[in-house]
């Protein structure tokens, strides 16, 4: 197997590891896998936490190690803090999976605090695609999501925050 093919095999394992809180997304979709290196069976994976306090981070770390071990590798998982993870690293496929799952993908960057009160465009409802939506709360069921309501189909929905 060539080096590239061997590395691709590692990525394939990682693409099979689901985010513990949004299981339709793989960790690769989520953009938290920053780098992968392979030497023999030794795999080093650099991981970026989405939020400093995200309780899923330790689970993600353990899941990556477990998946690689099960695939016959010797994993070493390292935290990569800088540059900080951004929601822009969620892949286009990841955004589509989020939408299909009922979560509006991140669209609009958080405003500079100087413009804290300027209204930003509302996220589109993941169910009916209407832009006629309103914010219920800046903070949803996990740190990475805000809570919205669609005024067209009346369904509440989560939106992945842009950070």
């Amino acid at each position: 197997m060539s080096d590239a093919a061997a590395l691709e095999a590692v990525w394939a394992v990682l693409r099979g590891v689901a985010d513990p809180e949004i299981p339709v997304l793989s960790l690769v979709d989520l953009g938290v896998i920053r780098n992968v290196s392979l030497e023999g069976t030794l795999v080093e994976v650099g991981l970026s936490p989405t939020y400093s306090g995200c309780p899923a981070t330790s689970v993600i770390r353990a899941d990556v190690a477990a998946a690689l071990t099960a695939a016959g590798y010797v994993p070493r998982v390292k935290d990569v803090l800088s540059p900080p993870w951004t929601s822009a690293w969620i892949t286009p496929e990841g955004c589509e999976k989020l939408r299909a799952y009922g979560i509006a993908p991140p669209e609009f960057p958080v405003t500079r605090p100087a413009a804290l009160h300027t209204p930003v465009k509302n996220p589109a409802c993941p169910l009916c695609a209407s832009r006629d939506t309103e914010l219920i709360s800046e903070f949803g069921s996990t740190p990475c999501k805000s809570l919205h309501r669609c005024l067209a189909c009346l369904e509440p929905f989560d939106c992945f925050k842009c950070i």
């Binding site: 951004t86 804290l116 219920i136 800046e138 949803g140």
Partner: protein, 258 residues
């Protein structure tokens, strides 16, 4: 005075990192008391999410402090096995929550101060602090969006909500003072480009606060001759009780894991 300060031998970056970590942890502990008690479930979630971010930031900072100290202390050792006189958090963080309005006022003031601090720290000459700060800034922006939004709603709300947040602002204002008086730790670090200069912070804090207060129909209180320095381990009577509760489980079952 704290042994760690009195000794005068601790590295300024270590002390500064510990101050940032303690402030984040103590504020998170206060905010956590709202879980199950906030006026609506959205606020319950909002406040607990802010607390969670703060705990995450505290963990990263304690991790770094532990490396700087080099004594093998873990995050948990710093959080659970230190006494009141060892904590270096800003005093405002330890004050009781009061009503929801008072919690919002404290949060908004501290969010602005922390945002200005961490935005500058993201360009620190200390690469590790810079990385932690760059991460935290993204989170604190959301915190401020939340707290300033509520401050405007309450200040510019009913006569009762206005009265309450105006009173809370007056009560909390004296505790802002310590943020903008540099001591030898901050002066040394500012000279090295590790920490922001306190004078710059003060001007930036005021500039960001003024339009929020204006929109909230609140007046900036006058400065008073009141001095408190939690960052130098001179705490109010409230920190001891907070720690007693926060540390009780760990002290009763040292080393327990789950």
């Amino acid at each position: 005075m704290s042994a760690v300060i009195a000794a005068g031998t601790a590295h300024p970056t270590y002390l500064y990192t510990l101050r940032l970590a303690d402030t984040a942890l103590v504020l998170a502990q206060r905010l956590s008391a709202w879980i199950g008690h906030a006026p609506a479930i959205e606020e319950d979630l909002g406040i607990s999410n802010i607390a969670l971010d703060l705990i995450g930031q505290a963990r990263l900072l304690y991790g770094y402090a532990g490396e700087l100290e080099g004594a093998g202390r873990s995050e948990d050792d710093y959080a659970y096995l230190r006494e009141e006189c060892d904590f270096l958090n800003a005093t405002m963080a330890e004050l009781p929550n009061g009503d929801f309005g008072a919690t919002i006022v404290r949060q908004c003031l501290m969010d602005i101060w922390r945002l200005e601090t961490f935005e500058r720290l993201a360009a620190s000459s200390d690469a590790r602090l810079a990385a932690i700060a760059a991460k935290a800034v993204k989170e604190i922006r959301y915190h401020l969006k939340y707290s300033s939004g509520w401050l405007v709603r309450l200040g510019d709300g009913t006569a009762e909500s206005h009265r309450r947040v105006a009173a809370a602002l007056g009560d909390l204002w004296p505790y802002v003072h310590e943020w903008f008086v540099a001591d030898e730790v901050e002066t040394a670090l500012a000279a090295d480009g590790v920490a922001p200069a306190v004078d710059d912070l003060k001007a930036a804090f005021e500039a960001r606060l003024t339009p929020i207060l204006c929109e909230a129909q609140l007046e900036r209180p006058l400065d008073v001759a009141y001095r408190w320095f939690g960052k130098r381990a001179q705490h109010s009577e409230h920190l001891g009780l907070l720690l007693a509760e926060m540390q009780s489980l760990h002290r009763a079952h040292p080393g327990a894991s789950w």
